[in-house]
Symmetry: C2
DNA sequence: CGACGAATTGAGCGGCATCAATACTTGTGG
DNA sequence: CCACAAGTATTGATGCCGCTCAATTCGTCG
């Protein structure tokens, strides 16, 4: 097999794709670009016409508020479709920075247009995945709006854990977070100091353990309880989609 | 003109539609259903296969956490497309309740499938609008995660204001919120008590004024500053979409 | 007029922020 | 391979924003 499309691979986890569709998706990834850890891929408020497929590494999207504080909006993993905001806005609503060395595949939004025109079923699928991301956002909204610091940390860890598991079957109960405590805090609306206290507390309570950057979830059930977490990946149902 | 489609009308604000497309969209609204204020349209965790177009009134989506607290996820206005989560999940991730007497047009997700198959351009458009809603969610995420109570109230009022203005040209500087202070609080992660204090304070500072349920924004510019609000409606750009 | 939900106001408290100091880790150049 | 620098983690002390509890007042609808 030649250069598989990372993105097609992601999509086929949900719905089988035709060869033509796979080929079209692979075309989006014709221009891989290596990105150094910490490098900015897109800067908020600057004009944009590009979208990305993330092939390797991790990327985050965030905004900086006028007082200098940062809200991390989402952490992206390989196979994710990044920067879909540029489909509607002429200026980037959010910044994109690589959390680790990464490989992204940029493509012009006109390439997306062609894809949508020629492969309506892919268009429908993108619509659905966009909805899934929206639901994921609402979960975080409820977490930030209505739960305690400890609950947010628990929910955040579980979210990362389950999202990583979707593409990586090796993960059993531990994973590399690759985020500083400050970054965790900026994701869930806390200071790094308080994130530290919460993590430390959860460690003492035997909920998690750490070594190097690796986090092990020792009691997923109790964590889900503390974080009011619901795993949405389970009851996805895309069978009603147009057949290929 | 016969029964215009509320939804088609909303879409044409962004991109011109062909007659065939309009007709197809109108079909989604063939079964209007009247809903009483406070009535539940969809209950979280129950099986769903229906989506809705909101034709009249206001509807909110929300979740209830195990401790009984509520997070309101979004307030919907006429012309909005509701319940798109049911395109991916077999069980509703969120509840839907009418905030006022309302008219919704339910349709089966298989009707949506047919629409997506037969009108790929509409599929693309739905994808884009879903992205817009996602961006709107990220704005609220930053608001909840990183701003003060006062800032959240300001941002919330501005958001309602600008969204209402999209469809109602009569609105100049005042509007009917039709939400209790408790509901505002549940939207932005505050208690009704504190929402009251903030509103009251903003009133004293001459930022807003109230009479009955009507809110008047006296100093939009300063409100935008306080709320760190950015009006996204301005720089939408959908011109690159497939031509009809 | 009575009743119930919503708004308003006060008192007191607690969770998380802020500020600050110290340890640890990692990468870099000599 | 060591030494330093810079970033990250950890811990303590203190303070404030927004929550909780509670008591009126206001508004609206039957």
């Amino acid at each position: 097999m030649v250069a598989t499309s990372c993105f097609a691979e992601q999509l086929t986890r949900h719905v089988p794709l035709s060869d033509a569709e796979k080929t079209a998706l692979t075309k989006l990834e014709e221009n891989p670009r290596k990105i150094k850890r910490g490098a900015m891929i897109q800067r908020a408020n600057e004009p944009i016409t590009e979208l990305f497929v993330l092939r390797e590494g991790r990327v985050m999207s965030f905004v900086i508020l006028p007082d200098g504080s940062r809200q991390i909006l989402r952490v992206y993993f390989p196979g994710d479709f990044i920067g879909s905001a540029s489909t509607i806005y002429s200026r980037a609503p959010e910044s994109l920075v690589a959390l680790s060395d990464a490989v992204v595949c940029p493509f012009d939004k006109h390439a997306l247009r062609r894809l949508l025109e020629e492969h309506p079923r892919v268009a429908a699928l993108l619509f659905l995945l966009s909805n899934a991301e929206r639901v994921s956002m609402t979960d975080r909204l409820a977490s930030l709006g209505r739960t305690s610091a400890k609950a947010r940390v628990a929910a955040f860890l579980l979210d990362m854990f389950h999202r990583l598991r979707v593409t990586d079957d090796n993960i059993k109960d531990s994973f590399e977070l690759k985020l500083t405590q400050e970054e965790i805090g900026d994701s869930i609306g806390l200071t790094s100091v308080h994130v530290n206290r919460m993590i430390r507390q959860m460690e003492q309570e035997g909920l998690i353990s750490r070594s190097n950057g690796r986090i092990t979830l020792l009691d997923v059930e109790r964590l889900e309880d503390i974080g009011h977490y619901t795993n949405r990946h389970k009851d996805m149902d895309l069978d009603w989609l147009p057949a290929s």
